[in-house]
C-alpha cells in the first residue's frame, strides 16, 4: 500500500484524462486518419495502467476476459459491416459517400464508425495481450 503511493495518486489523476484524450482522438479522427487506432491504444493503455497499479483482478473485474475477445471480434465486424453496408447501398466496399443522403455527411459517418471499429479492436487486442502476459502462471485459463 505505502509503496504504491506516488503511482497510485498519479494514476488516479491521469486515467480519466487519458480516457478522454482517447475519445477526443477518436472523434477527431476524420480530420486525419488513424484516429481509431490511436484511440484504441490509449484506451487500452489506460486500462492497463489501472491493472498495473490496482492489480490484474481489478482490471479483469472492469473488463472481463470474454468481453475482451468479443471486443476484438466485434470491432472487426463493425469495420467490415460498414464496408458491406456501403456495398449494399450501391457503392463499393468501404464506400462512405453512400451512407447518408449528403455524401460529405455520409463520409463522416462512415469514417467515424470504421474508426470506432478500429478503436474497439485495437483496445481489445492490447488488453488481450496484457491479460495473457500478466495472467501467466497464475490463471492458465486466461492465456
Amino acid at each position: 500500500m505505502r509503496s504504491q503511493l506516488v503511482l497510485r495518486v498519479i494514476a488516479k489523476l491521469l486515467i480519466p484524462f487519458m480516457l478522454l484524450f482517447a475519445l477526443y482522438v477518436q472523434f477527431h479522427g476524420d480530420f486525419g486518419p488513424g484516429g481509431g487506432f490511436q484511440a484504441g491504444v490509449i484506451t487500452a493503455a489506460a486500462v492497463i495502467f489501472y491493472g498495473l497499479i490496482y492489480g490484474l483482478p481489478a482490471a479483469r473485474r472492469l473488463v472481463p476476459d470474454r468481453f475482451v475477445e468479443s471486443m476484438i471480434a466485434g470491432g472487426v465486424l463493425l469495420y467490415g459491416g460498414v464496408g458491406v453496408a456501403g456495398m449494399l447501398l450501391g457503392g463499393n466496399f468501404l464506400d462512405y459517400f453512400v451512407l447518408a443522403a449528403d455524401p460529405v455527411h455520409g463520409q463522416h459517418r462512415g469514417i467515424l464508425l470504421v474508426e470506432l471499429g478500429v478503436l474497439i479492436t485495437v483496445a481489445g487486442v492490447m488488453l488481450k495481450i496484457f491479460y495473457v502476459f500478466a495472467g501467466r502462471g497464475r490463471d492458465p485459463g486466461g492465456a
Binding site: M1, S3, Q4, L7, M18, F21, V25, G32, Q38, V41, I42, A45, I48, F49, G51, L52, I53, Y54, G55, L56, P57, A58, F130, F133, A134, G135, R136, G137, R138
Partner: protein, 93 residues
C-alpha cells in the same frame, strides 16, 4: 532552427543509446529507455514543425503516455516477474 533542435535531439539519442549499450544494470537500461522515450516525444513534436505535420503532436502525446506506462510495466515485471500483482504484497518479496 528546428533542424538544429532535431540534430541536438538525435545526438542526445545517440549518447543515451550508448549508455544503454554500456549498461551495466538492467535499471540503467530502463532509465535509458525512459529517456529515449522522452526524446522521441520531443523529436515527434519537432518533426511536426519541421515537416509541417501538426498531427505529429497527437502522436507525441500518445507516445508519452505509453512511455510512462511501459516503464512502469517493465519495472513491475523486473520486481515481481509478473505484471498482474497488485503491488500491496511487496514486503514478502
Amino acid at each position: 532552427m528546428f533542424t538544429v533542435a532535431a540534430i541536438a535531439l538525435l545526438v542526445t539519442l545517440a549518447l543515451a543509446l550508448l549508455r544503454g549499450l554500456l549498461g551495466p544494470t538492467v535499471f540503467d537500461r530502463a532509465q535509458v529507455a525512459n529517456t529515449v522515450g522522452t526524446i522521441a516525444v520531443m523529436l515527434l513534436a519537432v518533426f511536426g514543425f519541421l515537416f509541417g505535420r501538426p498531427e505529429f503532436l497527437d502522436l507525441a502525446i500518445i507516445y508519452g503516455l505509453l512511455n510512462v506506462i511501459g516503464t512502469i510495466a517493465v519495472l513491475k515485471f523486473f520486481r515481481y516477474g509478473d505484471l498482474g500483482e497488485p503491488g500491496d504484497g511487496e514486503a514478502g518479496r
